[in-house]
């Protein structure tokens, strides 16, 4: 256990000094901060549109944004977690995997009395702590911005929901970090080490949901879910592919936690999907052999 804590400490120290994960973290924080403002701006505009149409006698429908919860402003954060958060996690995983190979320290580590499991899980736990810290910072900033927009402290349960939302993001990000770690440990080329996990992310985020719902890639970047095409093979496909579309499951679970009225679904199923993903990813990375860890890295 103490060897694992050595790897955890080393990982935290390294990640705090590596520029690529840090840069992505800065972009992540910035976008989460801005996302609430964009949400407020959009909500204000939509309400104004409704007022105009009502005044012109063009509609008798109710304002879709009347009495909207302040948690609505966290909606865009869901997409930035899926877009930027997961990429940040992948990059952290890849950087961790390549660090020792590039520094030529793999043999120094493996010729010491430490096990492969301590090495791999030490890295993964270290990355997870870094991600948890990142999400904590991002969550506090997000909650602060939403409170400022709302103009008053939110009801306490809303803060709990926000906390639950950012907490839910952690297993999603850890899962993708494990994928990045796996890609980095197995790859023989630096470029491939990054491209493979990113391709996996693209497949899970765009291709799998498309198979289940016929939703197009750009539509999947919207926090408002695209209604799946009813009928045909999509019902059966969605049943099978749906749980594997872990980004979509995260969207659904987040929407339910944040009480988004446009999102329906099964929270338990979504949570199960996310936790199954991180478990499978962690198990896969634990199978990487010493010979792969020691593999020579070319450009």
């Amino acid at each position: 256990m103490s060897k694992m804590s050595t790897f955890v400490r080393q990982e935290l120290l390294a990640l705090s000094r590596e520029r690529l994960p840090l840069s992505l973290f800065i972009v992540f924080v910035s976008m989460i901060s801005v996302s609430s403002l964009i949400g407020w701006l959009t909500k204000t505009t939509v309400s104004d549109v409704w007022i105009r149409t009502r005044e012109a006698g063009l509609t008798s429908a109710a304002n879709p944004f009347a009495n909207v919860s302040p948690l609505y402003y966290a909606r865009n954060s869901i997409i930035y977690i899926i877009l930027i958060g997961t990429l940040m996690a992948i990059v952290a995983g890849v950087a961790s995997a390549l660090r020792d190979r590039k520094a030529g320290t793999v043999d120094l580590i493996l010729s010491r009395p430490t096990s492969r499991a301590e090495y791999i899980f030490g890295k993964l736990v270290g990355i997870s702590i870094w991600l948890a810290l990142s999400l904590t910072i991002v969550g506090i900033i997000g909650a602060t911005v939403i409170t400022a927009i709302y103009g008053a402290p939110l009801p306490f349960p809303d803060y709990l929901r926000l906390a639950a939302f950012f907490l839910l993001a952690l297993p999603l990000l850890v899962g993708f970090a494990a994928v990045g770690l796996l890609g980095g440990l197995l790859s023989r080329r630096e470029t491939g080490a990054l491209l493979a996990p990113i391709s996996f992310w693209a497949f899970v985020t765009f291709v799998i949901p498309q198979i289940g719902t016929a939703a197009r890639p750009i539509a999947l970047l919207n926090p408002v879910p695209v209604p799946p095409t009813p009928g045909g093979p999509f019902d059966a496909l969605n049943l099978f592919m749906g749980p594997m579309a872990v980004s979509e499951q995260f969207k659904a679970a987040s929407g339910l936690i944040l009480q988004d009225p446009d999102i329906a679904g099964n929270l338990s199923l979504a949570l199960l999907s996310i936790f199954a993903f991180v478990l499978v990813a962690a198990l896969l990375v634990s199978t990487v052999k010493r010979t792969s860890i020691r593999g020579v890295l070319s450009e």
Partner: protein, 314 residues
């Protein structure tokens, strides 16, 4: 030499394979989706006919080029990322191998290296886009039981041209950054952050700021407002829309999307319109694509001179 390197690269083969798979799946899914909607329409029409009514809504029509929408979006998102990474790698490998000084101590011109690498990757991307577009169109013909006209072929060729320019822009950008930057890690950071912002975040903000996207199925549809009235209402928000538009046109991705969607008839306004009409309609986007391409290629060549590359060699 670059072409030989790329040809032997399993990475390139894997990228192409992955992309083809995603694009073909998207066309198949779109074809099935259309089929489902057509069957639902027929069932509804039959039910109305049985009760003595007529279906006032026109039957859905299959426009084969529209089946390529998701494939174009994959080119926008993933194509750009792959173009960035390969452009970065083209320069990074020379710096890491230590071959720059071997190259520049030979009697070559100052732009030879840059032109060679850009030229090679331009050929690669042209082949890549041609294969992807051809494969997806073939899939549309088979899975969607579609037929192409000669004008459709013209539209496809124009789409290939636009996609090629788009990928060249990203390759040139990442090559320029990798050449200019003293540290390769910094170059990769900047390139990926740029991709995130330009390809994903800015268009996503633009989409989010579209009032019609804020309600599932569309805001105006939910308020039961017809298209002419929608346009009239939105005219009162020209400032907001201008800001949204300005944000979107700062992104080369949006220009490519508008260009491709127009020529493929994905945007209703241009569906089944003669190529000349479409050309006039998206002239600004076409011009923007060319300007981005020429500009970024120029910067890439300027930064590939020995003085810059050797200065930053690590």
């Amino acid at each position: 030499m670059e072409l030989l390197d790329v040809r032997r690269s399993r990475l390139m083969a894997a990228l192409l394979g992955f992309f083809l798979l995603a694009a073909i799946i998207s066309v198949v899914v779109a074809s099935i989706d259309f089929g489902v909607k057509a069957d639902a329409y027929k069932a509804y029409t039959d039910a109305l006919a049985a009760s003595g009514s007529k279906n006032p809504i026109a039957a859905p029509q299959l426009f084969p080029l529209q089946l390529m929408r998701a494939a174009i979006e994959y080119l926008e998102i993933l194509g750009a990322l792959f173009a960035i990474i390969l452009g970065y790698a083209a320069i990074a490998k020379e710096k890491q191998r230590g071959t720059l000084s071997l190259l520049f101590t030979r009697p070559i011109g100052p732009f030879t290296l840059g032109m060679g690498k850009l030229g090679a990757l331009a050929i690669v991307w042209l082949a890549f886009v041609a294969v992807v577009v051809s494969a997806t169109m073939l899939t549309a013909i088979i899975a969607g039981h579609a037929q192409l006209t000669s004008e459709d072929i013209g539209r496809l060729l124009l789409t290939i041209l636009g996609a090629w320019l788009y990928l060249l822009v990203w390759t040139a950008v990442s090559m320029a950054i990798a050449s200019w930057s003293r540290q390769l890690t910094t170059a990769l950071i900047i390139s990926i952050v740029l991709w995130l912002l330009v390809v994903l975040v800015i268009p996503q903000i633009g989409d989010t700021m579209d009032p019609d996207n804020q309600v599932p199925g569309g805001l105006f549809k939910s308020l039961q407002i017809a298209k002419p009235d929608e346009v009239a209402v939105l005219a009162n928000f020209s400032g907001y829309n201008s800001a949204r538009d300005a944000l979107e046109i700062s992104s080369v991705t949006k220009h490519f999307e508008r260009y491709a969607f127009a020529f493929l008839g994905i945007k209703d306004q241009y569906n089944q319109q003669p190529i000349g009409v479409v050309w006039a309609g998206v002239f600004i986007n076409t011009l923007a694509l060319w300007l981005f391409a020429v500009g970024t290629i120029g910067i890439s060549l300027l930064t590939s001179k020995p003085k810059t590359l050797l200065r930053t060699s690590k």
